[in-house]
């Protein structure tokens, strides 16, 4: 096929991603004039709306930033709130939060890998044609998703907008029976999981490489860091989560209305591939074995492999969740830690004025919440920095290198491959509803 000399491509509302984003590509006489990814979500102004609300309502409200990532936002939110209040969560609370994060990864990654990304690789426009062509797999995937959802229902009341996990601890702790029920649900997933992993091993992705800086939580202990840690990068940087602004470095580029992120270089990549590149040695042995079988090694600089990194994390989180549950079964839970908080009418949690940050790895990358509160625990300023925002700049840098490499493939293929590249990042655009920073007014 002849090289495309002139191209005027506009993909309005990229499908099979969360939220609204457009791709704009212009080529004139074989020269790329423009290749951009635009976030066009209606501004929802969450950070503005949080002002004047109680810090004890922040989790409930910010969970609504995104349905897919609601557990992730909740975790960043309660951590930021506790950091502001000066509350240290108990060991039990932390353990249960790690379990919730495992469920969040399982649910989100299964959805993305099999229902949103796989159709591209299998050459169909959505998972609906797969119901006919890959009926068994679709059923297995839906069963897996349902099992994880059922686990979430038990642990936090529901997966979308969790109920029981709040700043300070938990409003309801799972009973012994409910711990057993979660173990049973997870163990029941083993066969389906094994089967769908076979399919994952056959997925082939475009061979595209670009060096960039990968950013994720890092820690000194042996656990694959998802809930706690410092912020690190493949360029050897490391800062405390409190200094998150150093790693996100938002800046305005006159080409686009979105705010971009960079750290040491031109752009940063956050997400499963970044975590794999920084922390692969801490993965569960079963996940390590899968990565080895796939010939997948850090540092991998093919963004399409983000989907493969998600597959590896599915295995990690599955076994990690089971280990936590079995440990909880052995030690039992301390139910005296159950809390009734509301907006803290009873003063169940001590309140002070503060400035708190919560940084958590969520399926799409590192997420930061930051709240400034007054002495009554009312929010004065809020800031949420979303993984997808941090990636937009990297997506555009990928475009600039990728488009010339595929210019001879014809308009339809170009369009599909650019869309696939965006989807590989698993962008969550509702989350990015803020893309200009908040200035803290003290």
């Amino acid at each position: 096929m002849a090289t495309v000399k002139d191209l005027d491509l506009k993909v309005e509302y990229v499908t099979r991603v969360e939220g609204h984003g457009n791709i704009v590509a212009n080529v004139k006489n074989g020269k790329i004039e423009k290749c951009e990814f635009h976030v066009v979500e209606t501004p929802r102004l969450f950070e503005g709306m949080l002002r004047g609300r109680s810090i004890f309502e922040a989790q409930h409200i910010t969970s609504r930033i995104c349905g897919i990532c609601s557990c992730g936002h909740s975790l960043a939110s309660v951590k930021a709130a506790e950091d502001a209040l000066g509350v240290t969560p108990t060991e039990q609370t932390v353990k249960l939060r790690k379990l919730l994060l495992d469920y969040e990864f399982l649910d989100s990654h299964i959805l993305h890998v099999y229902l949103l990304a796989a159709p591209d690789v299998l050459g169909v426009p959505s998972f609906i044609p797969l119901i006919a062509s890959h009926n068994k797999t679709v059923r297995q995937v839906l069963r897996l998703k349902k099992a994880v959802n059922d686990c979430c229902d038990i642990l936090v009341g529901r997966h979308i907008h969790p109920i029981t996990m709040i700043a300070g601890g938990w409003t309801k702790l799972p009973s012994k029976k409910e711990i057993d029920a979660q173990i049973k649900l997870l163990e029941g997933m083993a066969e389906d999981l094994g089967e769908v992993l076979k399919l994952a091993k056959t997925l082939k992705f475009p061979d595209f490489h670009r060096k960039t800086e990968y950013v994720a939580l890092v820690s000194d202990d042996a656990e694959y860091p998802l809930l706690n840690g410092d912020i690190g990068s493949t360029e050897g940087k490391r800062v405390s989560y409190k200094d998150y602004k150093k790693s996100t470095n938002e800046f305005v580029d006159p080409r686009s209305s979105a705010k971009f992120s960079k750290w040491s270089g031109d752009s940063v990549f956050v997400g499963a591939l970044a975590r794999f590149n920084l922390n692969a040695h801490k993965l569960h042995p079963k996940a390590k074995a899968l990565a080895k079988e796939l010939g997948f090694k850090p540092v991998c600089d093919n963004p399409f492999m983000n989907t493969v990194a998600q597959v590896v994390e599915i295995v990690h989180c599955y076994y990690h969740a089971l280990e936590i549950l079995k440990d909880l079964k052995k030690t039992g839970l301390d139910y005296s830690q159950q809390l009734t908080v509301g907006v803290n009418e009873k003063g169940a949690v001590p309140v002070r004025a503060g400035d708190g940050v919560g940084s958590v790895e969520v399926p799409r990358g590192i997420l930061h919440h930051n709240y400034v509160t007054d002495k009554n625990g009312m929010i004065k300023q809020a800031n949420c920095i979303i993984p997808t925002n941090q990636n937009v700049n990297n997506i555009e840098h990928d475009f600039a290198k990728f488009l010339p490499e595929i210019l001879n493939e014809g308009k339809d293929k170009i369009r599909l491959k650019l869309e696939m590249l965006v989807r590989a990042y698993d962008p969550c655009i509702s989350c990015s509803a803020h893309y200009l920073d908040v200035t803290f007014v003290e």
Partner: protein
């Protein structure tokens, strides 16, 4: 705080049960969690998909459709000029329109924007360039176009989705329960949140969620909207527990600011 709605009438042009209706999902300002509730139905999803013909569902599929729709689900609230125009165009092509989830039904959490002076809150988030991003006061879907069915909740409650969809596909009216969450809470034998020392919006909020949050040890946040005629008992709650009306009003603003003063 009154959010009384007219009773839902049978839509005139509902599709016949025999035809495989063309169904589309559209999302406006929202977290898209209510769409996701559909994929969380598990294998049951395949049964639902067997009964309908999904022609547009951007979050899940790439297919697009340019004909008329038998049933559309509208998720999200309306918060800019473009969204308002887009919604009107969708309504013109839809026989039946379902407001799907709290943002669509009451404006949801997006309504909190309306508690602030519009330019002030825009500037607080986007700084001096705030005018780059169009933003209007949040509206619920029925504040822009006619709505045939409501599926309340943040997020929507799966058993109710199936119930409303069954009614909509058959052209039957569906009446949203208009008794308070407390009715369900009692059946679930929860200890009243007021007895546990915290304020809860159950006495004023429409039931139908099976007192989801209170079953899980949290309070009711009022996501399903206010009952038409709060019982006298609800006033008793205010006096019995010596509540400040501002506290309850502030809590209600989280989901119901758009419907403030709407009779």
């Amino acid at each position: 705080m009154k959010t009384a709605k007219k009773p839902v009438k049978t839509p005139a042009k509902a599709p016949k049960a025999a035809a495989k209706p063309k169904v589309a999902f559209f999302d406006f300002a929202s977290c898209e969690g209510c769409q996701l509730q559909i994929t969380n139905l598990g294998e049951l999803l395949l049964d639902v998909l067997g009964a309908i013909d999904v022609v547009e569902f951007r979050e899940a599929i790439s297919e697009k459709w340019d004909g008329d729709y038998d049933v559309v689900f509208i998720e999200g609230s309306i918060g800019d000029h473009h969204a308002e125009e887009r919604l009107k165009k969708i309504r013109a092509r839809a026989k039946v329109l379902i407001a799907y989830g709290a943002c669509a039904c009451t404006g949801g959490v997006n309504g909190m924007k309306n508690s602030f002076e519009l330019d002030e809150i825009r500037q607080s988030v986007y700084g001096k360039d705030y005018k780059l991003f169009d933003s209007t006061a949040t509206k619920a879907v029925d504040q822009v176009v006619k709505v045939d069915y409501y599926i309340n909740g943040c997020p929507v409650y799966a058993p109710e989705i199936l119930e409303v969809v069954k009614h909509a596909l058959r052209g039957l009216p569906y009446t949203v329960p208009d008794n308070p969450v407390c009715a369900e809470c009692k059946l679930n034998e929860n200890v009243c949140m007021y007895e546990r020392g915290v304020a809860c919006l159950g006495p004023w909020t429409k039931a139908g969620c099976n007192s989801w949050c209170v079953n899980n040890g949290n309070i009711c946040y009022g996501c399903r909207g206010e009952v038409k005629n709060p019982a006298k008992n609800a006033n008793d709650v205010i006096s019995k527990y010596n509540l400040k009306p501002e506290l309850i009003k502030g809590k209600f603003d989280m989901y119901n600011k758009c419907k403030e003063g709407v009779k």
